[in-house]
Symmetry: C2
Subunit: 403 residues, 2 copies
């Protein structure tokens, strides 16, 4: 059953993107299989165990017979618990009717786009950013309009020039990822306020991707959805993946106005019936039970962040912020590339892998470059590598950079 007959594929498949980071992962695995040491900074996955109480909650639910279908929008106690949790952290009055449980955070992207974007509509999305935004917009016939980030004093900031340049009367949606992948960027209260004004001025609907909301080392997460006039036009992408180290469990939620959430639940009926039944009880235990699990995850990640930033900032030709949230670093490597005489990202990435074993993604894995981008960046994820190996790998990278 082989054969290649691409001419019979639907035209939209030609507009379907992917996560090219998976190719980096495959390449690193290959390199390791050849007997080389690899330091995996390319993965956005966690190598930490799911908290024991979540595991026990799920296993208890299996024994209790929670193995048949559940409602399309999820089990009521989990919808209630999420409404209370997210309502509380966001200062919003939410009920279970504002919550649709999904098999991961990712499904919320496609469903938000399908529910609200007509073919030809323009959609603002971040680049660099999670590559699935661009893919889902274009796959379903929209016009993807990227906006960027610029380096600020101690964090990246929204590139207002690109936002103002890209918005038009045809713009319908804004995809926004505060606590951002890949940059680690976090908006100041002033920036959020300005963005809310922009959304109102252009009458946009918003997807607020808050996948990293609870992965933070100082301060408090803030949401665009909390600002006046935003809740009624914003869907929050929530996921259990990061906070509870549940990436492989596949559970998340769309949280927003009922008129959108109802449609997303109807898309659930069509696309997958419901999310795994007993996994929802595990997540419920995670949300409402004791919290040592998520605390320990953040403690370990903070240690890794500090180890990675401490070394990266001493590498010549590399500058790097110390983000208060996410498990990503997005160092600028313009100087390093010049020093090494590299003209392409792929040359940097391949050579670093082969000569140091350090594997990472580059700007290219997070959407198309914007006009005028001159600085060069790469992304280090520290979610899947221990502090000891971070120190070893980045030590090698430093020696290599200094050579």
């Amino acid at each position: 059953m082989g054969s290649t007959r691409d001419h019979r594929l639907a035209g939209r498949i030609g507009r379907l993107g992917t996560e090219t980071a998976f190719a980096v992962s495959a390449e690193a695995d290959e390199w390791q299989a050849l007997g080389h040491t690899v330091y995996p900074f390319h993965l956005g996955d966690l190598d930490l165990p799911t908290p024991q109480n979540v595991v026990e909650g799920a296993e208890r639910a299996i024994r209790d017979g929670k193995t048949g279908y559940c409602p399309n929008a999820g089990i009521m106690p989990l919808r209630e618990a999420l409404a209370a949790d997210v309502g509380g952290s966001h200062g919003l009055s939410l009920g279970p009717e504002n919550v649709a449980i999904e098999p991961g955070g990712k499904p919320v992207i496609g469903k938000f786009v399908l529910a609200l974007m007509d073919p030809g509509d323009e959609v603002l999305y971040p680049s660099p950013g999670y590559p699935i935004y661009e893919s889902q917009i274009e796959f379903h016939g929209g016009v993807a309009k990227p906006y960027g980030y610029v380096p600020g004093a101690d964090d990246f900031e929204l590139d207002w020039d690109s936002l103002e340049r890209q918005v038009s009367p045809h713009t319908r949606l804004l995809l926004f990822n505060n606590l951002q992948n890949p940059t680690g960027a976090e908006s100041s209260p002033e920036e959020l306020e300005r963005l809310a004004g922009f959304v109102l001025a252009h009458d946009l609907l918003v997807l607020s991707d808050e996948a990293y909301w609870d992965i933070r080392y100082a301060g408090t997460s803030r949401s665009l959805a909390s600002l006046p006039g935003m809740a009624e036009r914003t869907v929050i992408l929530y996921t259990f993946s990061k906070k509870f180290a549940m990436t492989g469990w596949r559970l998340g939620a769309a949280i927003g106005p009922r008129w959108i959430v109802d449609v997303i639940a109807r898309l659930n009926v069509n696309d997958e019936s419901c999310s795994n039944h007993f996994v929802q009880y595990g997540a419920l235990e995670g949300l409402t039970g004791e919290q040592s699990g998520p605390r320990e995850i953040v403690r370990v990640l903070r240690e890794r962040r500090d180890a990675a930033v401490d070394i990266l900032t001493t590498i010549p030709g590399v500058t790097c912020y110390r983000p208060d949230a996410t498990f990503y670093l997005y160092p600028e490597v313009t100087g390093l590339m010049e020093h090494k005489g590299f003209t392409s990202y792929e040359q940097l990435r391949r050579t670093a892998l082969e000569e140091t074993g350090v594997s990472f993604c580059t700007r290219l894995h997070f959407g198309r470059e914007l006009p005028g981008e001159e600085r060069r960046y790469v992304r280090f994820a520290y979610s899947g590598i221990s502090t000891e190996r971070i120190e070893e790998g980045l030590g090698r990278l430093k020696a290599w950079a200094e050579a």
Copy 2:
């Protein structure tokens, strides 16, 4: 966060269908909550436990740390096991490259349509049939062309008149569900052969929905995909839901030519990253471990089928086949409706619920009626009700019908 602003929804949402059977289920629950006895024949869910070795396989995988992401197309051992299992039962040479693991069987419908249907393409699908076919076709811009079934000597048969009438040069896909929901229909070898000829003559691509492949009480399941020339143009919808009583676990697969399966796996990257990691190990144990679990499920279902058919066939104005497969019965109730003076399906359904507690779906829950349909049918699912309660409920229905 309330408000209704449907005018901001995308146009395609107006074409999005649903499973109206869920409304029947909600109505039955309401009736029961009022203190009435309900005999649930409306559910396509199973009230039987998932086999213990499947549960243990999944729990072992959690302990082994299979809680992070897995490959988009699924874990290799499960893809290999499914290729061997389905290849063996279908007489096809399949490898893991022909298998993409999905979070249920249902996602295969939408992904097949997205991968192969352009807007304006015509798609043949069964009516009565699983209502998600019609919904996904129209939602993504296709033209849904229903074909029907006609009563034969001891089973329903394909309505060739409707197939020939509905096919056109614009027809691109055929959705086919042998061992059919809701009719329980099973194609004879001759019918399958004629259908394969029809597919070749009109150069169609096929979705072979085989959700009920292993739920059978006599004989051997046959697939359209096994016929000459079919494998290279057919995607098999496989699900673990029925055979292993895993409906709430959400696991299935798309099995077919690599050029389509590769695209479906890329849709996985975009839609949900991957299916639950440890659930796949449970399914692997189910496929490759000892088989007393699935055997016991079929044993119980056979007992229920016989109990239900034995009574239904004695009710005046009702005729009913005894299908060798699925857990559905699709009795004709034209005579009963005439006797009772009912002119609408909803009148029959509501009155039967209120006067006997017996809850079932009707022809209306399985797609639009075709021109010329004169006989009246309802669907009884016996997957979620014990033999004892089948006898009690249908006994009441019989007494009511005789009155």
